[in-house]
Symmetry: C2
Subunit: 519 residues, 2 copies
């Protein structure tokens, strides 16, 4: 008499007690759930027990049960009558350093109800993760920075539920995907050893946490699932991305790349997973160049340089330009190279740049937008320093990819899919990234942008038991490859510091000869 | 490098982190514990995580871990440095309706440190369990009666720890053994369905509870183990008694009897357990006769009637008599019968009673203590009504024993041990109980008083993993026999309402012929 929904809500009909069957109310319900969930143990919280007798009787022994697993142990999290019109809800959370995204989920149907996003309130402490960790070095700092994000959640969860007609008391599950440091600050755990040799998190695989223990104002019994991390520099958001990409289920070998301040890479298939992380340089995040910024309205995201060397810029929402994002930088770099305005070392070629090339304090720059055409009233330009930094970043990226692929004894040609995660992945033009030699010269169909895979994976955990089960297995299956910056790595890195590479045969699709001819 | 103590405290040496092994602090500790405990999962609370990094470093990665199991799932409950002189403590609790007993245990050595006891503060609501359940019918009543016992625990735990030099913050485990109603009132669970058909508890097998969730002021992470019950009338105190008696481990068949307002009986061996409970009459608890009371100083606990029919009374602590306890009643009944002062129906025999026999309002009574010799200044006497009530109780007891033994197809002769639990068991004279036909006519060596088996079982759970594991198995293995008060039961009951029985051949050791001759 029990029906199983696709998600975490089970509709159960319990046989009423009688003189012939005077099993206790809780055991009666648990026994029914046990047989449906095929498990020996289901935990039930004291606070749920207190209301159980009158609820069972009021609802005529027919209940919707929100159940969740804490590392293979089932918990009864919430109870609703079958005729209550209310939704049993969960919220998938991408807990980014900069931006936090919430997605409200109907736990019964698996449907996304609504979304909202807010800037991580910890930005007031510092936009950079390092500043925040230093701030949390003492107990009061940690308390303060933890309260910032908790208060941010409470405000935004209330807002999201309010506009969606969902009572916050009916939110029973949260799934939180963030990097290791963000997760620690969210849990109120001291992050100080993460950034100090030998780089030790407090915990890699936290248990699920009661919402009330974190001060999150949703249902008191609500459980918070936190994606486990592999280490200080390979966080739960990557595990979430692996879940979302389904890379771990596939026969063929794929690679998943998340680019931020660090590049985090996972390579593998259904049988094995190898991961590594390394500094690919903040240039790709738009953090280094003076005009670099994260993708938002008014930011340059695509560039084409016409044959006459006119620069054709595209900005997000077609607003007057105010800066350039990472994907815009890569586009620009590729276009500068293809147009001959920079050489294979990335140095400006004065005759090609013509009047766009300026110099002050001995540093050359190329003007993208003159001051009278920009949103800021200031000239938007890219200096030789910016370009050198970008080249180091792209070289690091390529070297990391090369290293991990060689480590498992394959070549790039063995990759069936190349997934790019995050906002960066949504905007990047793979053709440009190939042109500058940042990513390998594979067919464009191989490249696949995942969008917000961190949010996507968190959503899957709230809608599928299989996804949750996979999280733990994936975490335990990953071989983490410590990147040794040894002579061999440095040699590869040096070779990658050219456009596209010192060995152009690695990039046959980039027609280097025609470029050279045009110069 | 890890040493296992006999109890719930493990001394663990964790390898310090390094660049080659940057497993998180918590996972590092948990992995070590996992291999010692041979388990796949150990839960760790958020509040323990918060202090873990500096503790591990301060203690040079050598820790004492208090671990406990919540129905096969391990929990890390507490942490201490190996060089701290402090004791990791637990408290075994007999949660009686009338009296609560606490035993402070050193969890590392298993030794009992100290004990204390207090009257159950819920007595102010009513000495009787029914009154308390009615009082808890509404939420405010339940809250109030729950607070009474919780406050009582807090006061008495503080006192017990204080006089024993143990910090209450170093108390990590409680094991609570009580009947089903007491357990519900302790957990703050509504008990109202326990006493109403079809007699359904809220829960039979509660999870362990965090001390802070119940408001018990010991270590915040402390876990409270509550003995599971089999049903409304077969509580956790009986499971605790079974553990203590070791009946469930033996090859031979034994029986365990706990006598209170109800008689609760378990019969079995290492292969099977059958239990039943029935009203054996409050006469045995000293609750019915006007002068009946529970065993305490000044209460008559033994009686011998001399050949000249002088009544030789013994009181607890040899104080002037003020009442009579259950075991005293049984002694008296046996002596009245053996002296011929009552006949086989329990009726006073006037010529034998002589001047001790009085009558008022048509009810005869026999004076045990004249008013000038009692502590109360009032005559202490036993009426025909009291005796009739006692005979009904003893007959009920015998009938219950007969029924359960017949149910499994054996006879009393098959019993290797007859355990009697509780205070009643400590005082009862088996010879007297046999004489009146309350318990079967077995050799006196068969009878074994367990003392406070409820406290004893709770102590075992705090000192042995095997005992805890056994609890759940025992609970699930018990076949509960619902006593049908049908014609057959009533026939047996009627036959048992004689002294010792209508069929004296069942009691060969009671020399009925010599008694009859003396009359």
């Amino acid at each position: 008499m029990t029906e199983k929904s696709p998600g975490w809500v089970l509709t159960v009909k319990v046989s009423p007690p009688s003189l012939n069957d005077n099993t206790a109310d809780a055991d009666r319900l648990i026994n029914e759930l046990k047989s449906v969930l095929k498990t020996d143990y289901i935990d039930i919280d004291l606070s749920l027990l207190k209301n159980l007798p009158w609820r069972l009787r009021k609802w005529d022994y027919q209940v919707r049960c929100v159940c969740f697993k804490d590392r293979n142990r089932w918990k009864l999290v919430g109870l609703k009558g079958i005729n209550d019109a209310v939704i049993c809800a969960g919220i998938a959370i991408d807990l980014g350093t900069t931006r936090v995204v919430l997605r409200l989920i109907n736990l019964e149907t698996g449907e996304a109800i609504n979304e909202s996003a807010f800037d991580n309130p910890q930005i007031v402490i510092g936009p950079d993760i390092l500043e925040r960790i230093h701030f949390a070095d003492d107990e009061s700092g940690l308390y303060k920075i933890n309260r910032l994000i908790i208060d941010g959640f409470n405000e935004n969860i209330t807002g999201l539920c309010g506009k969606s007609g969902v009572n916050i008391q009916d939110v029973f599950l949260l799934a939180v995907s963030g990097n290791t440091s963000m997760t620690h600050l969210f849990l109120g755990l001291p992050p100080n050893h993460i950034i100090r040799e030998p780089y030790i998190p407090v915990v890699n695989t936290p248990n699920t946490v009661l919402a009330k223990d974190l001060g999150i104002a949703i249902n008191d019994n609500a459980r918070i699932f936190i994606f486990p991390n592999v280490g200080s520099y390979f966080g739960g958001d990557l595990i979430s991305g692996i879940i979302f990409s389904k890379l771990y289920q596939q026969e063929d070998i794929s690679i998943l790349v998340d680019v931020g301040t660090n590049a985090e890479v996972v390579l593998g298939n259904k049988d094995w997973l190898v991961a590594c992380a390394g500094a690919a340089g903040p240039a790709l995040e738009g953090g280094v160049s003076k005009i670099g910024m994260t993708a938002k309205p008014g930011v340059i995201d695509r560039i084409v340089i016409e044959p006459e060397l006119d620069i054709d810029l595209h900005t997000i929402d077609d607003l007057p330009p105010k800066g350039i994002c990472g994907s815009g930088m890569i586009d620009m770099m590729a276009q500068l190279f293809l147009s001959g305005m920079v050489d294979i070392r990335g140095k400006f070629v004065a005759p090609k740049c013509r009047e766009r090339l300026k110099e002050s304090d001995g540093i050359r720059r190329i003007v993208l937008v003159p001051s009278d055409a920009s949103a800021t009233g200031k000239e938007l330009s890219i200096s030789q320093v910016d370009i050198d930094s970008l080249i180091r970043s792209k070289a690091a990226m390529y070297t990391i990819l090369e290293t991990i692929v060689r480590y498992v004894g394959i070549t790039f040609d063995n990759l069936s899919m190349f997934y790019i995660a995050g906002t960066f992945g949504s905007f990047i033009n793979p053709r440009s990234a190939i042109t500058i030699g940042m990513i390998p010269d594979l067919s464009e169909e191989t490249y696949h942008s995942l969008g917000n895979s961190s949010l996507g994976g968190a959503t899957m955990v709230l809608t599928s038991q299989e996804a949750l089960d996979a999280v733990e297995k994936i975490r335990d299956r990953i071989t983490y490859l410590e990147l040794n910056v040894n002579q061999e790595f440095m040699n590869r890195f040096s070779a990658a510091k050219f456009l596209p590479h010192t060995n152009p045969s690695l990039f046959p699709s980039v027609n280097i000869e025609s470029i050279e001819k045009s110069n």
